[in-house]
Symmetry: C2
């Protein structure tokens, strides 16, 4: 869990959700500033991660993966925060998963040296970014391919550069997102990859999360393991490194672990799972997912307590213009709104001893760019200037609203600032 070798980043004086700080203050100096959220030392709205819950979640997921003897490459697109990547690596993660070439570059620039880019690499400038990084022999990288056309583009580009690009073939279900749909397409892509000395086929990648139902997911995953066995048996896989199979978003990692951990291809194999949202978890789509996991997966069932919601956005009540309505200074610029609106969790009146639970009948009914409409009851004890902590649904689209996220301890002291690079 030590964060000590991670380079401290200067705080951005143009940023939101911070307190006052001297010029050239870095994240390493933040604890010494002694900001406290409850003492109104920082500008609201602010995004906060609770240190202890983050630590619990990091350890929970690592233990889960170890129980299945599979590797964890957390999807870094969730937080895009190298300071949080560092915590994931320090807790035992194999590497970091990312979605785009600029994300890979930002991670590399902050010390990440093993990346699974769970996406196609397309376009000359994006290939140039990756080529530059591949020249570092300490850097390990995989991307995915699902068409002969893309394989040929990559083969030509990386071959010309005198580089070898390790790739995984993506399989996808019919009606899904990316990925070859059938064995004919799979073989065509494998053959095209085989033609290019600039490419090395390392294995298979999937994203099962486009399917919604466990039976369909298990059937799909078995097709995937069959396909990898087939590629191995046909001698299609690279010889100078282990084979790799990768799947799992944040909703079905248990099922993927169960299916993939059974796999034996008669050769060295790394099984890499990629949940990303577990670090912060949420009270929406991922809480729903974890309820299923905790109920059905034999390993998760024994790991009480499960993942904890560790990310909240705090904001002020700014107006109480009419009965039953509070306007909160929290907008679509501050929290995800695509998978349920933020949920009032805590209330705090500056000067009081400690936050209390927000009344259960408080509810956001709409959000605008910079405002939220909160339904309240008549006669509720609420004032302009009260602070409300909101739980969120969909961490990915909450983190990307913040360039700097505060880490807080149990006393709401700010202990660190995690920069993001979206």
């Amino acid at each position: 869990m030590t964060n000590s070798s991670f380079p401290a980043a200067p705080l951005d004086p143009n940023g939101k959700g911070l307190g006052a700080f001297p010029e050239s203050c870095t994240s390493a100096d933040v604890a010494a500033l002694q900001w406290n959220l409850l003492r109104e030392d920082v500008s609201l709205p602010v995004a906060v991660l609770y240190e202890s819950r983050v630590r619990h979640n990091l350890q929970w997921m690592q233990r889960f993966m170890e129980a299945y003897q599979v590797k964890l490459a957390p999807h870094g697109k969730t937080t895009m925060s190298p300071a949080l990547f560092k915590r994931q690596i320090d807790n035992g993660a194999w590497g970091i998963t990312l979605a785009t070439a600029p994300q890979v570059l930002a991670a590399y620039r902050h010390g990440i040296r093993k990346v699974l880019m769970a996406n196609q690499l397309v376009g000359r400038a994006n290939m140039a970014i990756i080529a530059q990084l591949l020249r570092d022999p300490a850097f390990t990288y995989f991307c995915i391919v699902d068409s002969p056309a893309n394989a040929a583009q990559l083969g030509a580009y990386f071959g010309e550069q005198g580089l070898v690009l390790p790739v995984l073939i993506e399989l996808g279900p019919a009606g899904g997102r990316t990925g070859v749909r059938d064995d004919t397409q799979l073989q065509a892509v494998a053959e095209e990859i085989g033609r290019w000395p600039g490419l090395a086929l390392a294995g298979i990648e999937v994203y099962e999360g486009v399917l919604q139902e466990e039976g369909a997911i298990r059937a799909f995953l078995r097709r995937v393991t069959d396909a990898l066995r087939g590629l191995a048996a046909a001698g299609r896989l690279r010889k100078n490194g282990p084979a790799l199979i990768s799947g799992a978003g944040s909703a079905w990692f248990d099922v993927v672990a169960e299916e993939f951990s059974q796999l034996d291809i008669g050769a060295p194999l790394e099984i890499v799972l990629r949940p990303g949202c577990y670090l912060s978890h949420d009270v929406g789509i991922y809480r729903t997912a974890s309820e299923r996991i905790n109920a059905h997966n034999p390993v998760a069932r024994k790991m009480e307590p499960g993942l904890q919601p560790a990310l909240q956005v705090w904001a002020y009540v700014q107006s109480l213009p009419e009965a039953g309505r509070a306007i909160v200074a929290l907008g679509k610029r501050d929290a995800a709104f695509d998978a349920g609106l933020p949920t009032p969790a805590l209330r705090y009146r500056p000067g009081a001893q400690a936050p209390g639970a927000a009344p259960a009948h408080w509810k956001l009914t709409a959000m605008m760019d910079q405002h939220a409409f909160m339904q309240i009851g008549e006669g509720d004890d609420i004032q302009v200037g009260d602070m409300i902590a909101f739980d969120i649904s969909h961490p990915c689209l909450t983190f990307d609203k913040w360039r700097q996220v505060l880490l807080v301890d149990e006393q709401y002291r700010i202990t660190d600032v995690a920069g993001t690079f979206f």
Copy 2:
């Protein structure tokens, strides 16, 4: 239109949507890098503003406001880009409108010295940000108040600091967002403001955009002008500066100009309108709004052509996994999706002469964090690696996905990079 006095900002090597550049390259060096969008010199997805259309839009809105002899304080929350604020000021804007204290600080740090914060100022750290800026006698600032409670908080804070905070009372329609609903509330706020030497009442502010219908908006605006006349007649307004009345989002600025430009309160008065989206315009909610404006407003009718959509997001086709479906490397992290999905406008195959119109039947059907699903026809001429330029709906929630937006000329050469501070 000169941008010369604006301090050049270093390009962010962790950013997306850029090409390769040497260390310590600034926005002033970008043109010399000779990046061209069509030559694949920059990483896609990328957000681009078309220089000539931006220039047209800046001039169009300024001329519109001048025709009504009202001031323009563009809402800067749309772009949060000081380089674009500078262009708005250079074209004659009175100042910049902003929504939060950190936005005001970021603008101030980039040279903006006149700000209407069209929002309540709540919380100790936010007040501290503004107090620090008010100590600069060259800085002009107004915020809005709609409750005696907030007036008392502000009066106590700024009075203790020995500062005088100029405020506007906000009026809001019943069922709307912030703002006092009736005359009783208005008088209570005005009285509370009058009690505090740390506050100066400068006038009234409204946001009519929460109403959806012209008749209701005109009736509301007339109540607002009556209210300002009443405050002036009662001697409630500050003596050491002009009175101020402000309204207008990007959808109803014509109606606000028509109503407010009639106003005479028998004392110096500044009428300040705040559309923000006109700089980039769009092909969604604001095109719809401008169709009404161009059809009905006598000034706009004569200003052909009207506002032009100037912001596009370019992205690659990354997969063609099954008939009728293309997957595009463009996600909810790259463009607004809350008021209509992005619309394919142009297609370009690297190496070709010039982009052509995207087929009218190409249509996004869904977006995920990093991907878009595009419906295409069977047999369409489309390949992995093709570039597609998307028009967008809702610029505010597109700009906030980008830390750096490229300005391009008619030949798709990148002429400048505008940083944003969300």
